[in-house]
Symmetry: C2
Subunit: 356 residues, 2 copies
């Protein structure tokens, strides 16, 4: 807990003046002021987070945290539990959605086994930090102990710190059969929204399973009594290892001035935990996309941002984060590669009160 507190205290809100400096540079580029809209905002925020006008954007890394869930035994997912481990192997072979989209934007995928019910061999691209072979079934007992939840978060923080000299920007991703169930539970408890409002169809379950999923989440909350004022208590009782790891990664990245592009619903639940521990973390987060999972909208409202993309994605893994990284980089390149009015010999407009 000491470590987490230290990291939280290191995170500072971004000063408005940092944005303004970048804005001046953007307004010298050969385009009407603000005509590249959110791309310009991305560039502003990227530089402001870095606190360095000469910051680079070269090394991009997506960390996909994988863990299993005791509650998967209740049949809350359309896929069997062993798919978590199978998908980790798929990630390592480069055949999954996140691999394809990460390659597309030039990002590396690092898979973190933080709690998969399978013993992986050492492998390139795999970081083994297993805390347990999956969580306990939250329908019967807390998914994790308080200590395990802290260990999970510390794992994410440590990974952010280990990569802080190498990664210019990071993305989050998750893999864990059954993990929309704990994510919905977390969002419901932390926001006070009824379970029905923050629960979706996950990977594509039947209507009967969906109704059971809602009942299971309600029952798990009732049994475990997570304290909404203690995000780590909530995380431990109705969360998961990968959710803890991602929350830690977000905090760790923010504390090291590394912009973090957050994926969809599961990563969003992690972001919500990070936000409750340190509201200033929102300045470091780019929300990549709006997921089909209905609880995601609630999370994005709490983060106080707009998602960059709305493409009906609901895969997780870091697929949305990959596309988001591509957009942040597009904004960064606008700032750093476009010609200025002066050096391109382009006339500026007459000085006049600008309306829109």
């Amino acid at each position: 807990m000491e470590k987490i507190r230290e990291v939280i205290n290191r995170i500072r809100p971004i000063q408005q003046s940092a944005y303004e400096d970048v804005k001046k540079r953007l307004n010298n580029l050969t385009k009407p002021a603000e005509s590249l809209g959110r791309l310009e905002e991305l560039a502003q925020r990227y530089i402001a987070i870095k606190g360095d006008n000469n910051a680079k954007l070269e090394k991009k890394v997506i960390f996909t945290f994988a863990g299993d869930h005791g509650v998967a035994d209740e049949g809350v997912s359309a896929f069997p539990r062993e798919v978590t481990a199978q998908m980790v192997l798929n990630f390592l072979h480069g055949g999954a959605g996140v691999n394809v989209l990460a390659r597309h934007v030039g990002a590396e995928v690092v898979v973190v086994d933080i709690g998969v019910d399978y013993d992986f061999k050492q492998s390139d691209g795999l970081v083994i930090r297993k805390i347990a072979r999956g969580t306990r079934n939250m329908l019967k007992e807390p998914a994790m102990t308080y200590k395990e939840a802290i260990r999970g978060m510390k794992t994410g923080i440590e990974i952010a710190e280990e990569w802080s000299q190498r990664a210019d920007i990071v993305g989050t991703g998750d893999m864990g059969i059954g993990n929309t169930t704990p994510s919905s539970a977390i969002v419901s408890v932390l926001t006070g929204e009824p379970v029905e409002n923050v629960t979706g169809m996950g990977t594509g379950i039947t209507h009967d399973t969906f109704k059971r999923k809602i009942d299971i989440i309600k029952e798990a909350i009732k049994i475990n009594k997570p304290n909404p004022l203690d995000p780590i208590d909530v995380l431990s009782k109705v969360g998961g290892f990968e959710i803890a790891g991602i929350a830690g990664l977000i905090l760790g990245a923010a504390s090291k001035n590394i912009p973090v592009v957050v994926d969809g619903f599961i990563s969003g639940a992690s972001a919500l935990i990070a936000l409750r521990l340190q509201p200033a973390v929102r300045d470091y987060i780019f929300t990549s996309h709006l997921s089909v999972e209905r609880g995601h909208k609630v999370i994005i409202e709490k983060l106080g941002t707009n998602a960059l993309l709305d493409l009906n994605l609901r895969l997780g893994e870091g697929t949305g984060a990959a596309l988001g990284i591509g957009l942040v980089e597009a904004g960064f390149k606008i700032l750093t590669q476009m010609a200025t009015f002066d050096n391109a010999g382009v006339s500026t407009k007459a000085p006049s009160p600008i309306y829109g």
Copy 2:
């Protein structure tokens, strides 16, 4: 006109069965069915347009058509008219927004001088097909003759045909100081929407200029009496050379089974002309983004699609098309690079009625 009619007659609606074939392939990939949402739709449509299951997506080209506008003499833009030529030179030096974003997605930019009021030297990346040194002032007379409008469209068609063996996908872009004014005029006449509803702030004009811009558009329509049932009459009287060229490019690309990613408002006005000449063209169009220019929404509704991105862009040049091409390619790579359940050894879900 013969040429245009021939091209229009060659464009066929895409058969539903073509989409279904791709869907089957997508559903074998290691992800829940349809979990990559619109990326999957992009892949489906790309392959369906190509009519070839083994189609490649390698060569990407953005054609930025540039032309001047007589109506710019009325001060409808925040920038002076010479900026059109200056920006063309900026494109050729690689310093403009479209260059940066095209490089970001690995696309080539080809600039077409179809009506700039400046004599360019031959240069790599520049295609000189100048019809005139700008349009006439539509506030006083038709911007172009009917013949000139047809020549403009034919130019775009010819360029699509010349590149049809080289370009796997094309994007549209525009450059022309003052060109939101004719674009709003076209959209108003073709859709029947009041001028106020389809006119925006362009590159950032003052409120007074904005009011004058609306009056000028209304007056130009009143004087020239464009026939809403004849898109080429509308184009000639209140349009522009680059708008004609882009409309031709869209039709030409569709006739050659080349997917065309349409940029923002100006390109949208061109797409609307193409759509009125041949409704089936909509199957070949990807709408890259929703522009800040208020008339763009009306265009997108007529095209019957959703824009891929909503990033408050209003630059034109093909900047939005570049980002859109990146997303279409992302979808294509999902289809062609992801592992299948079989070859990755991942368990499929139990066969059950899928709900969502």
